[in-house]
Symmetry: C2
Subunit: 389 residues, 2 copies
């Protein structure tokens, strides 16, 4: 890995502005990574993602290992070439997906046996294989294999999962062969402040290139999420990037940055877009609402995205009501542009030393989905994931 | 309508090269119109359609009248503005859709009563209303309301439908108020050469700006389609454009041009793309075939489309196998680029006087879907249309 993967440029209270240097470009932080688990950010081309202001994308070792298979991606010259993306890439090891998507998984200290959610075939993943596979994929940042306890698991189970995550992190570090990839460790510990402290300290001592916070936003109350971020961050080194996995919504990102997070990824902006939920300067709005069906202005007149510059809310509403695929695309473009604009405003505010004002104004003006809606959607989504291919 | 809507530039045996002059640009003929029934060419933006080489698109009065409703499109400033397309537009009157999509339609000399395939609501369409509605939409070329008999209807039924189509054409002509729109008549007559002659002669006497051939490619054998084109074209004026509605595949277009057709529209290239069937210089290929899953070359190395310039067949195969929406888009781009390239080659060959050689080479090299596949797909599609929204 290059000597200096992460460069901290300025801070504003706990919020940080910096940059990640990777073999595929320098990525300013805070950064939000659009999710392209299956080697595609749903509905969009690589050019569109770049034009939306993103320099780094997330893909998933679990999904790609199962389909199309690593042999195919290796033959195509690696994941960047396969998906036509010449920006930076981060691959998740697939730990979370094995525990949340794959049926019948059995874990031992060695590794985890699981069945494919696609065809039911049996597979075995170890920390060493997770690294080896991600070296074949060739992303700029790769993740250790971790064990993700579910929200509600017993303290004992969470403790064991955290200890195993630590042993696996060490094995991943030892297995790493490619020096051009940054390997990030993943802090676990459920909603126990003590386990989070221990986990952060243990992994920090191993001196990874970056640190992720895993196992959050999986059903726990939002206050617990935020508390665990705070409990973890204080034990992480200032000089390394901090990545909050699977988070978040616009409001979660503002709050995550306020607590010292540098990197985020989340399928939410693109997933809710395909359900017609659009981020606007006043909060989340659903394009299927009757009010939009005859509105000749764009969904968000303040937005500079392709969708808002070219189409009325009435047209987007028509596309959704007609089940037209272009609607999914235009909504995805809109939400991702909202995210990249948000991240840019956040970063400017940090650099200018005005982040706390920005944060206050944002939470006063932006109306998030309420807690119950968030919870219902998450549950619905988790159920859907269990059955779909 | 401008004095000279159609300009015949050169001929090569029966094949013709010309141009359509419209308020939204000059469109070289032969021309293939991508289908955007619901004010969107499925999966694509207006810019992409233009970049693919298309200057004219088809939309549908039946679909848009039902959803979002003409009041919405009128409020948005017409169909061009609504869908963000500043090229030429042709709207079909919706006659064919009423007879093929809408359940429980009852016809009288006055007009046709039908139920919406979306919500079952009852509606009444007359020739006058079809024109009035299309004047609200504001396309550059509009179509008369016709009665489309089904393939297999009794000769008597076809005769009556043809006679009614003539009366309705006259009423459409009388109802037209906007002088900037070209109104095309539609020749009917089933697979009866005599009725086709009569229909062409009757409508030619009314002096329309253009002539369409309707009621073909609806289940009859391909030889009958081609024979009916020939029987009709000889009775149409040379100075007016000839539009073969709902046709076709690459091979059908070459054969249609050879028989003197200038304008084509068909959902087939975009529809089969979404099923993974791709046009290549050697014929139709399905991206789901195992051979593609590890191919590091593009689907058609001879193709200059965005998809083939940027992605391997293996990647496209992966997107289809994973149910990824980007796959539908990339396949649509590929097939439409194939169509626009084909049309351009056809036109050059006509202008150069080499069209008959082109036609021979094309049919020797391009392997179309076989008759049974075509028939099965058409039936499957017709059944699907009856149930989907």
């Amino acid at each position: 890995m290059p000597e200096k993967h992460f460069n901290l440029i300025s801070t504003c209270e706990s919020a940080r502005a910096g940059e990640l240097t990777t073999p595929h470009g320098v990525v300013p932080t805070p950064v939000f990574l659009p999710v392209g688990s299956q080697a595609t950010v749903k509905t969009l081309t690589p050019e569109e993602i770049k034009d939306l202001g993103f320099g780094m994308v997330l893909a998933n070792n679990y999904h790609l290992y199962l389909r199309p298979g690593l042999d195919v991606i290796e033959k195509m010259g690696g994941l960047h070439k396969f998906m036509g993306w010449n920006g930076a890439l981060l691959t998740d090891s697939g730990g979370y997906q094995i525990f949340s998507l794959a049926p019948l998984c059995r874990i031992s200290d060695d590794g985890v046996t699981f069945r494919s959610h696609i065809d039911g075939s049996e597979h075995f993943m170890t920390p060493e294989l997770a690294v080896q596979y991600q070296e074949v994929l060739g992303a700029d940042v790769i993740m250790v294999l971790d064990e993700c306890p579910a929200y509600g698991d017993s303290p004992e189970k969470v403790r064991r999962a955290t200890a195993r995550t630590h042993q696996w992190a060490k094995r991943c570090q030892q297995a790493q062969k490619r020096p051009d990839q940054a390997l990030y460790a993943i802090v676990q510990g459920g909603i126990s402040p003590e386990l989070r402290h221990q986990s952060a300290e243990y992994l920090t001592a191993l001196d990874f290139t970056g640190y992720a916070i895993g196992g959050l936003s999986i059903g726990e109350p939002k206050e617990a999420t935020l508390a665990m971020i705070e409990e973890t961050v204080v034990f992480l080194p200032e000089s390394k990037p901090r990545y909050l996995m699977g988070v978040g919504s616009p409001e979660d990102i503002v709050e995550g940055v306020a607590r010292g997070i540098d990197v985020f990824d989340c399928a939410l902006p693109t997933r809710v877009a395909r359900n017609g939920a659009l981020f606007t300067s006043h909060g989340r709005r659903n394009i299927r609402n009757a009010a939009f069906s005859k509105m000749d202005k764009p969904v968000d007149p303040d937005c500079d995205c392709y969708t808002c510059r070219n189409f009325s809310a009435a047209y987007l509403s028509h596309l959704f009501r007609s089940g037209e695929l272009l609607g999914l695309r235009l909504a995805t473009i809109h939400n991702l542009r909202f995210m990249s604009n948000l991240i840019q405003k956040i970063r400017s505010a940090i650099v200018d030393g005005t982040f706390s004002t920005f944060r206050k104004d944002f939470s006063a003006g932006y109306q998030p989905a309420d807690e119950q809606t968030r919870y219902d959607q998450k549950q619905k989504w988790l159920r859907a994931r269990m059955t779909r291919d």
